[in-house]
């Protein structure tokens, strides 16, 4: 800000400088004093006013700031003789932008440019305004004006980028690219080009129109020398040749790159693609999601004749073998992996030979089997082999492993690789017996302990040798739990990972596995602590939040949820606010390709599915927190415009394009996506490693869930309204039922039912039962919270709807009310009674309970509060007749029944929670530790745990070094168990607090009903 000096809107600079200094050092009061003095001398200076507005905005007075800004703007417009400099305008712009009035800033610049049509500085300011508003067409027009004015290359490129943006991010047709090409062509003819980025844009414009030949001509001409990094130029050349179909020339180019960069894997794939005349790699790049690129290219079956195919393959082999020979002393992997890829291609062409492929992998293993990335390197190739051949491969690798190892670290690396291959590539774990799995987990844990001395000399910051062994042990133990449902294995897995973290606190892989395990166990606060230690911030929130957010969303940890949502939304909104300024920075620094990239990236984040979730969950959390006080709830609803905005959001979701930016690679095997958790069952049919990559199913499901959720604020609002309207009708206060509310509610119920997969009438039958009283409970079970929410809203609607009433006055209306009560009772009370208040109860039941109490039961409580509030005599209302008295007493009775039943439900839950609370810590600890300490000879968990305990008790200080041995000794299983109990306890006590608040509300309602 301090640089903004110069001609200060007609005011001497020395008078303005101290004000800017005060603003920069955040002394706003001081700045305000000074500007008031300045304004007394220059009352009509738009610049001084703009400064005042800036100070006011910083002082947190947006309304005053806006009014001062508008005043300055008026003065600028009214007085033609006034100086209209960029300093005044840019200061106004800053304030308008901060006040979310970009349009006003733009109109100031538009006005100024109209007045001084040849002022380049003002035009740049205006261009910047359009960048901020994402007005691509106006950007283009302004850039062209600047270009015409001064003829500079950069302004032409600004115009060209604006055109590209219209095509990629706006609704401009592709033919606009022809216009961009024409502009560039003309400029090149008269002035040539001087910036490498300008050339890149020119080439990209041609490439986007599939004019590969033209692009190649330009690249190989004089302009090509602009690209100073030779390999960059070659890459473009190779790509253009391949896309133009000149595969032979392209292959030569890629061969050239490989000679100088023999480890460039991507380049090798391009080279091979060209030899086999297969352009899939480029098509894949264009078609696939750049954030989740496929692991390997889907190659086409080659159209080449057999002879030609064979000869090309042998050319490739010969070249790669030469590369190997030339780089014999380098430890580069590409030429060796290349052999495997060549074998895979032969395989795809049905010319493969399994033995060759296996041999190639074995040879790769001989060289690189000790590397941590070996498994991911070869992962894609083993897919080609049938299960028997995979087993053969494993056998050969095992046979080779012992003979090769030269150093202990290498030997350890190879052994780890073999375990990984069994687990990941072979999907072996699902085929192993429980006994074999136990043996394998024991072997890995032993190996970890034995290999610890290798890390003796390492710095604390460095990752240790063999770290992966513990995460793999954990994977096996969880598999054992999945098979046996014995919670001891999960506790054991937790102990193993905590053991690893006691030794080295920085292993993020352990932390992620742990946070999922703790969440599954119900010890969410412990999971949250480990999550926090991952230091997830800024853009990582977009990709890593999925590990924790879904768990916290269904928990009673509302403070933590609020903080997660708030941090994330702030990050995203800040980015949306500043992104355009950074785009302009790219324009100014002539890095045009980044301009397009930045705008596309901002769009990607704007369409983020997680952002949508956060925006919808935030108001729902607010609503959940206030349900026990209807006035406060109404305050929240008012701030949410009675849910209207979310209704609109819900309407848009169907047609909205969504992006899924989560990095799912780091998720544990048992929960490969957010909506899947194999540990909850079904416990058969799924093998160890089905990594679902398809987002299609997830997307459909996601849309339905979020669409439904965003209806909630409005439906809650309408429910409260329906309830109070029904009483007013009873008491004939207003004479008529507000039909609008009722009909809107009906529409929303129809939508809600539809999202549950039923027409309204059928959905009603599902919850109320058919006239014969049968209810389809299996349907409700599946989506319990949603169905009960539906029933609550249905009940509220039935209160005020004539449509719903039956002539006998005893139809659906009464049935809905009693169905709702009995559904709540059935699902909550039955669930509570079926759960033992023990530590290892499946946590998803508790999670469901928490949701049922904090959502449908709470919404229903609001409806009752609304009914009660409207039916209590307020003094002004007179009771009119005996029939009203009668209906009032009937109402009082109905309300009393409902409150009674809700109280019963809440008390039952509280009873369960108190029973849990009454147990001693030792009892809980016993539940966790006992299965681990059982006889190691017997079946069941505890074997790995025993190894760790034995290791700790016999730890050798000299062998491990001080640091490691101290850390090993610091591992305390009982502390870990205590942490789990405390964590779980915190969640349950939070839940108890919610229940107690509800119980209190219900008691007060009982008293008020008695007054009716």
């Amino acid at each position: 800000m301090a640089s903004k000096f110069g001609l200060a809107g007609g005011i001497p600079e020395r008078k303005v400088r101290p004000i800017w200094d005060a603003i920069d050092s955040r002394q706003f009061k001081n700045a305000f004093k000074q500007i008031t003095t300045l304004l007394s001398k220059h009352p009509n200076s738009p610049y001084a006013l703009a400064l005042k507005a800036l100070i006011l905005e910083r002082m947190g007075k947006p309304e005053e700031a806006l009014s001062v800004c508008l005043n300055a703007k008026e003065l600028l417009y009214a007085n033609d003789s006034l100086l209209m400099d960029d300093l005044t305008l840019s200061t106004l712009q800053i304030v308008f932008q901060r006040l979310d009035h970009l349009d006003l800033a733009t109109s100031c610049y538009e006005h100024a440019c109209g007045k001084f049509s040849n002022n380049l500085e003002l035009m740049m300011g205006l261009f910047n305004c359009y960048v901020r508003e994402y007005s691509f067409v106006k950007q283009q027009q302004t850039a062209i004006k600047m270009y015409k004015l001064v003829g500079e290359e950069r302004f032409l490129l600004w115009a060209v980028c604006s055109i590209q943006l219209q095509v990629f991010c706006g609704n401009g047709g592709e033919k606009l690219l022809l216009l961009a090409e024409g502009l560039l062509k003309k400029h090149v003819a008269s002035h040539s080009l001087h910036e490498p980025e300008a050339l890149m844009v020119y080439i990209s414009i041609l490439e986007q129109q599939a004019k590969y030949g033209d692009a190649l001509e330009i690249l190989s001409g004089k302009l090509g020398s602009l690209l100073m990094i030779e390999v960059d130029k070659l890459r473009i050349q190779g790509r253009l040749l391949a896309r133009a179909g000149d595969y032979a020339a392209a292959a030569n180019i890629f061969q050239k790159i490989l000679k100088s960069s023999p480890d460039d894997w991507q380049c090798f794939l391009h080279y091979l693609g060209c030899l086999l005349e297969d352009d899939s790699i480029w098509c894949d790049e264009a078609v696939n999601d750049p954030v989740h690129p496929p692991k390997f290219i889907n190659c086409k079956i080659s159209h080449l004749t057999d002879e030609l195919f064979d000869s090309r393959i042998s050319d490739a082999l010969a070249f790669i073998q030469k590369l190997q020979a030339d780089n014999i002393n380098n430890s580069i992997r590409c030429p060796y992996l290349a052999i495997i890829e060549i074998e895979r291609r032969k395989h795809l062409q049905e010319k493969g030979n399994d033995d060759n492929l296996i041999d190639a992998i074995v040879q790769y293993f001989d060289r690189f089997g000790h590397l941590s990335c070996f498994t991911s390197d070869v992962e894609m190739f083993s897919e080609v082999l049938i299960p028997d051949k995979k087993t053969e491969l494993l056998g050969k690798l095992m046979k080779n492993s012992g003979a090769l190892s030269t150093t202990p670290t290498k030997s350890l690396g190879q052994s780890i690789t073999l375990f990984k291959i069994q687990q990941i590539l072979m999907g072996h774990m699902s085929k192993m017996s429980e006994n074999e799995l136990e043996v394998s987990s024991v072997q890995m844990a032993e190996m970890y302990c034995k290999s610890l001395p290798l890390s003796k000399g390492l710095d604390l910051q460095e990752s240790m040798h063999g770290e992966e062994l513990l995460s793999m042990t954990c994977n096996v133990l969880v598999q054992l739990f999945w098979r046996t449902k014995n919670f001891g294995y999960l506790a054991e897995a937790i102990m193993v990972l905590e053991f690893g973290l006691a030794i080295r606190r920085h292993v993020s892989q352990y932390k992620i596995l742990l946070l999922h395990l703790y969440s599954h166990f119900g010890a969410l606060p412990v999971a949250y602590e480990w999550y926090k230690s991952l230091d997830v911030k800024n853009i990582l929130m977009e990709t890593v939040y999925h590990h924790i957010l879904p768990y916290v969303m269904v928990s009673p940890l509302w403070v933590e949820l609020n903080s997660l949502l708030k941090d994330y939304i702030k990050f995203m909104d800040d980015h949306f606010r500043e992104s355009a300024d950074l785009t302009f920075l790219a324009y100014r620094h002539r890095n045009y390709s980044k301009v397009i990239e930045f705008v596309q990236f901002k769009e990607r984040l704007q369409h983020s599915s997680q952002y949508l979730v956060a925006r919808v969950e935030t108001p729902i959390l607010l609503l959940k927190q206030k349900t026990d006080n209807i006035e406060e709830e109404e305050g929240v609803l008012e701030s949410l415009k009675c849910g209207v905005d979310f209704l609109e959001l819900s309407n848009e979701i169907g047609s909205k394009s969504l992006t899924f930016n989560e990095d799912l690679q780091t998720r544990p095997w048992w929960t490969p996506t957010l909506d899947k958790n194999y540990l909850l069952g079904p416990f058969e049919g799924i093998s160890y490693c089905p990594r679902e990559s398809s987002t299609k199913d997830r997307e459909t499901n996601f849309r339905r869930v979020i669409e439904k959720k965003s209806l909630l604020p409005r439906m809650i609002y309408l429910s409260i309204q329906c309830a109070s309207a029904s009483i007013k009708e009873h008491l004939k206060v207003n004479g008529s039922v507000p039909g609008k509310i009722s009909s809107e509610m009906k529409l929303l119920l129809e939508r809600y039912a539809q999202l549950l997969g039923y027409p309204l009438s059928e959905a009603i039958e599902v919850v109320v039962g058919s006239p014969s009283g049968e209810r389809s409970s299996s349907v409700v079970d599946y989506n319990l919270v949603d169905w009960l929410n539906f029933t609550v809203f249905l009940n509220a609607w039935s209160l005020s709807s004539h449509e719903f009433a039956q002539p006998d006055g005893n139809g659906w209306k009464t049935r809905t009310s009693s169905s709702l009560d009995s559904l709540l009772e059935k699902y909550i009370v039955e669930k509570v009674r079926s759960m033992e208040p023990q530590l290892c109860t499946p946590w998803n039941d508790v999670q469901l309970l928490i949701q049922l109490v904090s959502e449908p039961l709470a919404w229903h409580g609001l409806v009752i509060q609304s009914l009660l509030r409207s039916s209590l005599p307020s003094g002004k209302k007179k009771k009119k007749s005996g029939s009203v008295d009668q209906s009032s007493s009937h109402l009082a009775q109905t309300l009393a029944d409902s409150v009674q039943r809700l109280s019963f439900i809440v008390e039952e839950v509280m009873k369960w929670l108190r029973e849990w609370k009454s147990r001693t810590e030792d009892e809980h600890l016993e539940v966790i530790l006992a299965p681990l300490c059982s006889n190691v000879q017997s079946d069941g968990p505890g074997k790995v745990f025993h190894i760790l305990e034995t290791f700790v008790s016999s730890v050798n200080d000299t062998e491990l070094g001080n640091h490691i041995s101290e850390s090993v000794k610091s591992w305390s299983p009982s502390d870990v168990a205590r942490k789990m109990v405390t964590g779980k306890n915190k969640v349950l006590m939070e839940f108890l607090r919610i229940c107690e608040s509800k119980a209190k509300l219900l008691r007060s309602m009982k008293q008020r009903i008695a007054q009716l």
Binding site: M228, I229, D263, D264, W265, Q266, C267, P290, V291, P293, P294, K295, F296, S331, R333, C334, L337, L371, S372, C373, S376, D377, E379, M380, D459, Q461, E462, S463, E467, H506, S508, Q509, D535, V536, K537, N538, I539, L540, E542, T543, V544, F571, E578, S579, L582, L585, A586, H589, N591, S593, K594, E597, F598, Q600, F601, R604, N661, D663, Q665, T666
Partner: protein
């Protein structure tokens, strides 16, 4: 097995496995985007088979006269790809661009004084400790300013170590 290419915005959504490392800072968006907007040639990513992000380097070029230099702001490698000399490859690339394209005099970087493995690695790559910056990291830990002379600095004047430590406010550049 490394393809080194320019870093794109979308890579920010793919680098979690690298950035979850406790020594790798995840900066705010404007920080990354300023580097991308101003010095795109100094922000590179290494990709391995299966399109996996192996590591990346971000840097810039700045300074006046004989202080015109390349600067390494961050270099990091995912755990899976460590001990394979990837950081060296990334550093060499940045040095080459500073040397041949931007004709800088030297390349410099800051490292925590306690980060012995990193200091050792930079020394192996030819960097020397030019000076100590007192309490450079959040006012707590000292930083070491390490430099490597490029071909334009024929007499290697830029890397003659300073005798005394300096304070962060004496630094010429951020």
């Amino acid at each position: 097995m490394t393809t080194i290419r320019r870093f794109y915005c979308n890579d920010l959504l793919r680098f979690a496995s690298v950035n979850l490392d406790h020594l790798t800072e995840t900066f705010n968006m404007s920080f990354y985007m300023t580097y991308l907007a101003r010095w795109p040639d100094y922000f590179d990513v290494a990709e391995g088979p299966g399109n996996r992000i192996m590591g990346y380097i971000m840097g810039k070029v700045e300074g006046q006269g004989e202080s015109w230099h390349g600067h390494v702001t961050a270099v990091t490698v995912a755990p899976e790809y460590r001990r394979m000399q990837l950081a060296k490859k990334l550093m060499n690339l940045l040095e080459e661009i500073s040397d041949t394209i931007d004709k800088a005099y030297f390349v410099d970087l800051f490292v925590r004084a306690s980060n012995t493995p990193a200091i050792k690695m930079y020394e192996k790559l030819g960097y020397v400790i030019y000076r100590r910056v007192l309490r450079y990291y959040s006012g707590e830990e000292d930083g070491l300013d390490m430099r490597k002379a490029l071909s334009r600095d024929v007499e290697k004047k830029s890397i003659i170590p300073l005798k005394r430590p300096i304070t962060p406010d004496e630094l010429e550049y951020d």
